[in-house]
Symmetry: none
Amino acid sequence: MPKKVDRTARREELLDAALRVFARKGFAASRIDDVAAEAGIAKGSVYLSFDSRDALLEAVFQRYAARSEQALAAASAVRGPALDRLAALVRGTVAFLAAHPEHARVLADVWACRAPLDLAAVHRAHREAVARLLADARAEGTLRPGVGAAHAAVVVGAVEGCLVQWLADPRTPLAELAGPIVEVCVEGLRA
Amino acid sequence: MPKKVDRTARREELLDAALRVFARKGFAASRIDDVAAEAGIAKGSVYLSFDSRDALLEAVFQRYAARSEQALAAASAVRGPALDRLAALVRGTVAFLAAHPEHARVLADVWACRAPLDLAAVHRAHREAVARLLADARAEGTLRPGVGAAHAAVVVGAVEGCLVQWLADPRTPLAELAGPIVEVCVEGLRA
Amino acid sequence: MPKKVDRTARREELLDAALRVFARKGFAASRIDDVAAEAGIAKGSVYLSFDSRDALLEAVFQRYAARSEQALAAASAVRGPALDRLAALVRGTVAFLAAHPEHARVLADVWACRAPLDLAAVHRAHREAVARLLADARAEGTLRPGVGAAHAAVVVGAVEGCLVQWLADPRTPLAELAGPIVEVCVEGLRA
Amino acid sequence: MPKKVDRTARREELLDAALRVFARKGFAASRIDDVAAEAGIAKGSVYLSFDSRDALLEAVFQRYAARSEQALAAASAVRGPALDRLAALVRGTVAFLAAHPEHARVLADVWACRAPLDLAAVHRAHREAVARLLADARAEGTLRPGVGAAHAAVVVGAVEGCLVQWLADPRTPLAELAGPIVEVCVEGLRA
DNA sequence: TATGAATGAGCGTTCATTCAT
DNA sequence: CATGAATGAACGCTCATTCAT
């Protein structure tokens, strides 16, 4: 089935191009021509793979969501004490974002656009993964009293919030914030 | 000086209208006509107070920045042990954001637009306020060893990150997250 | 009747201002605000003296037409041989235009606008004055055979055409062209 | 290279349409829609060939300048006594203008607009051609004493000035003025 | 399938004109 | 009379989308 492969490959190349362009100038200022030029194809050809400009942003986001979930799954697969695994998850998430600044940058466009891109699902998955680890830690007896599922949002938020500060000021050393985040959001929760 | 008063009042009314419109449909989808209609004036009259559509967003942001700074100053003015004051600052910030959902919603537009709106300065001021309190706590001997100025970004991030989750999913109870944030970002830092 | 005087004086001041502005930036690029500012009054006050922006150009032109006619009449009043009077008329016309570069510059706007400003009447009056002098010269026997009323347009054109060259390139020394024009259009016509 | 041909052809068609529209209602009153409609294409398509409305006027002028130069070159190519060639040049120029009333009409818009359209260069070329013929006539001994290069502007002006009178009053028989112009500006210069 | 010329709805901005003060 | 804020029609230009080739 060469057609399918070609279509998929072309979609991926286009998404790579769109990701770079969106990250560089922002979705609002990105033209279909810009994406096509970045991908080295003609403007009209973009519509062979995507229905609209908005669909391009949605697809870019979906790819981020999928990759983010993979990173989450990978981090959740490690063995060891629950809070160590939580620390690993936090570090993994930060490393993933720092390693993919383009994906991170496009997040702002996703927040701003009002399309029904299920960003909430990404957050939910993230919170649930954290909540599971907190529950494990509770079972292990390594969790501070009074800490529970309600605090998962705070852990997720700490990561996301550092990302926001980095977006607003690229000089913020996002990767170096992994340590402090772990110290606050993991070590501070130990019994 | 009736002129000055009128112009300022008209500017404020327009900013109120713009804030509502931007919060409702997003800056990218907001038309000058929408803002004018919301303010009950003619489209052309918007240009009596603002040079351009972008200037409107900038002014809306500047007002947010100023109000945010006021909220910060108010929270910093309380007396008591440093970490209690940090808790107050966090609760105050969350309360401010929860009480002004429109301002908060427009933040996403500011992140997405690439105009030189000094969002970084807002973050910096916030981090510095937190860092000052952490330094005070250190002097009081109430701070956990190893915690310092580097962790201010995490505290600020936790608040901002919860805001992001609320923006992505309005069902997230932002106001109720103040408690967990304090438990993680303040109580977890105690010696 | 102080009102009448005031209104007329105000009109004149406004026309002076309009003439300066139109000459400086061209009618197409001149705003009512520009004229008002040049006259030192408020924008709306312009409409107390003129019905519209176009009426301003028309009035400026009418004033030029009247002054041009006066210059023509003055030149026609001199005594002496017909061709000497023609030379005086040419020199007077050129001197008038060179002395009022602003009026001359606005002529281009009058040519370009399609309003029914009777520029043709100005040309007609000019041609008729020249034709009268040529007829006088014919009666005096000082005119070359074959030259008559039909050549008046050429004499008028030579002046106007030098004006055009000066409008297109202000470095053209309009005043200095009076001599050559007379040599070609007057001396060349002698019997 | 079908692309180049098509683009050039389309440009020419658009310039033809623009020329007609500008001549009919004047540049100031001509809308992009008018030009597009005259060319039978959509408004936006105009921008595939021209950057702006002003660029359209500039291109129309450039085409006039080029054609004018061709007419000049053709007239300069004839053989014979210098003053006969000058007469031919004058007749050729007038015939060219009379045959292209649209081009001539747009000249007024060029005079009025302040864009840096090098109308002065057209005049200069015209003057230089005339001046060369006058120098030849001097060498031939057929030129009246006292006449020289300084009179070239007058000859050029006589043509241009008759054009102006025709622009102001289309009833003026421009073509019929060629004879009188020659009689004044050529015959009057003979030794 | 790939192209890019063509489209035309849409929007930001301008500015002549009006009129309440 | 004088003012200048308010108006809103008008227009240049953009660009996502389409479709003939």
